[in-house]
């Protein structure tokens, strides 16, 4: 009886947390779908389609994704204090979304999308349901992985100034990451990949520069 009562209570609680998990996974899969669509739009950037065309289609997904996150926030509101209990169920999707938003932002502005800006775009900026810093950083690394390919294709399309701009961006980003003492193994690995991206872009910049194709600005200085 005491035993039975206890396990009856467990049954209820486990079922609750199980169905919560199901609902979270369902939203995470919606985020994943929207992110895939966004990614597939953004891939057109490698074919040197005009930026507005590329970005407009991708941007159309942002609103949707934000809605998904607000649904997620509601679900997690039910179990306050347990954000990190279920975090693993949507974190990889969030990392992907961060990487896509950061890429779009860079394409538009040439700057890094900041942590709070990202949170704002996704409605992840209040204290209860925020954007985990490691997820943000991993997303930024994912974004940098796309850049060497972008640079190569832009040069092929005749944009010789692109390597310099990307190089400047990656040097700054790399220096910033160096400030961190990374313990998270996954993040550390991703940062290693960022270093390779930098190296690859340096090589492309070299190829362009040595052939006198690049305007001769210094990547470390903003032309003004």
């Amino acid at each position: 009886p005491a035993l039975e009562k206890q396990f009856e209570a467990f049954r209820v609680q486990l079922e609750e947390s199980g169905s919560l998990k199901d609902r979270i996974r369902a939203v995470a899969m919606d985020i994943d779908s929207a992110a895939r669509l966004m990614h597939s739009c953004l891939l057109l950037v490698h074919q040197s389609r005009p930026l507005p065309e590329v970005l407009d289609k991708a941007k159309a997904q942002i609103g949707l994704i934000k809605d998904h996150y607000s649904r997620l926030a509601e679900i997690l509101h039910e179990c306050s204090g347990q954000y990190y209990r279920y975090h693993g169920d949507w974190r990889s999707e969030t990392q992907t979304v961060v990487s896509l938003l950061a890429l779009m932002h860079w394409l538009e502005t040439g700057n890094l999308l900041m942590h709070d800006e990202t949170g704002e775009k996704l409605g992840l900026n209040n204290s209860e349901f925020g954007l985990d810093i490691e997820d943000y950083l991993i997303g930024v690394c994912f974004m940098s992985n796309e850049l060497p390919r972008y640079v190569v294709n832009q040069v092929t399309a005749g944009d010789y100034d692109c390597p310099r701009k990307v190089l400047k961006f990656l040097i700054d980003l790399n220096a910033s990451f160096r400030m961190l003492n990374l313990r998270n193994d996954f993040l550390r690995k991703k940062f290693d990949s960022l270093k390779y991206d930098l190296r690859r872009v340096e090589e492309v910049y070299y190829d362009v520069k040595i052939r006198g194709l690049s305007s001769s600005g210094d990547p470390m200085e903003d032309e003004g």
């Binding site: 990614h39 490698h46 390919r149 040069v155 492309v204 006198g212």
Partner: protein, 247 residues
């Protein structure tokens, strides 16, 4: 009564035994047919790679002839073996062969016309091989997509070869085509039944795309250097390699 049960057990298990024996033997025959399809499809692919700037029609004609020989000699055997069967039950036994066949057929088609051979078109060519009274074997969407994923590796080899032959535009056409397939597949992969294989193939595919892009980049930056340095004694766009020299 005891013996009655015993004999009924014996009868039943006799039937099960026959069933399992037949199934295993059929599976074995299908595996063999699949291996034949694989080895001969690979030959078609190598034939296509013998293309150069001057022998295109001739090489492709032979490739297509070889391909239809594969269809008529080996795929038809598979079709006969699977007549009216549940094609899904024994899929693992023939899937490798069919994938290689898809790879060969789509490669031929692309070289001939620059377009993708559709699954429906492929399946249409299989119809005449079947007994019309039975349900015909049709290549399923999964094997088709898996074959397509491998196709991009062959297209990468083709592109490198074309650039060497000075056919830059051909290489660029391949680049576009492969990029398009890669982009479309990124949306399709997560929907596939058992997407594990496909995910590793996608990574290889992205590598292939980037190899082509890097080759095009390389041609481009070299080509861009041409005009400022030499003026133009030669009016043509400075393609690479042999092309600007007549044979």
């Amino acid at each position: 009564m005891a013996t009655e049960t015993e004999t009924s057990l014996k009868d039943a298990f006799g039937k099960y035994a026959d069933f399992l024996n037949n199934l295993n033997e059929k599976r074995e025959r299908i595996v063999k047919a699949s291996r034949d399809i694989t080895i001969n499809s690979k030959k078609v692919i190598f034939q296509v790679h013998r293309i150069n700037k001057y022998n295109k029609d001739e090489v492709l004609e032979k490739a297509e002839k070889d391909l239809s020989a594969v269809t008529n000699q080996y795929v038809s055997r598979l079709v006969k073996e699977l007549q009216g069967c549940d094609f899904w039950k024994l899929r693992r036994a023939y899937s490798p062969g069919v994938q290689e066949y898809v790879e060969a057929a789509t490669l031929c088609k692309f070289c001939k016309s620059g377009t993708l051979l559709n699954l429906d078109e492929m399946n249409a060519t299989l119809l005449p091989l079947s007994d019309p009274s039975e349900e015909p074997l049709q290549i399923n969407i999964l094997d088709y997509l898996l074959g397509l994923a491998d196709l991009t590796g062959e297209l990468m080899r083709l592109a490198i070869g074309r650039i060497s032959d000075g056919e830059i535009e051909y290489a660029e056409k391949i680049c576009k085509f492969v990029r398009e397939i890669h982009r479309e597949l990124t949306l399709v992969v997560p929907l596939m039944d058992d997407s594990h294989d496909m995910k590793t193939k996608m990574e290889v595919m992205l590598q292939s795309v980037m190899k082509i892009e890097n080759a095009c980049f390389s041609v481009h930056v070299r080509g861009s250097e041409y005009i400022p340095m030499l003026g133009s004694s030669d009016q043509s766009y400075p393609l690479m390699g042999v092309p600007n020299i007549d044979p």
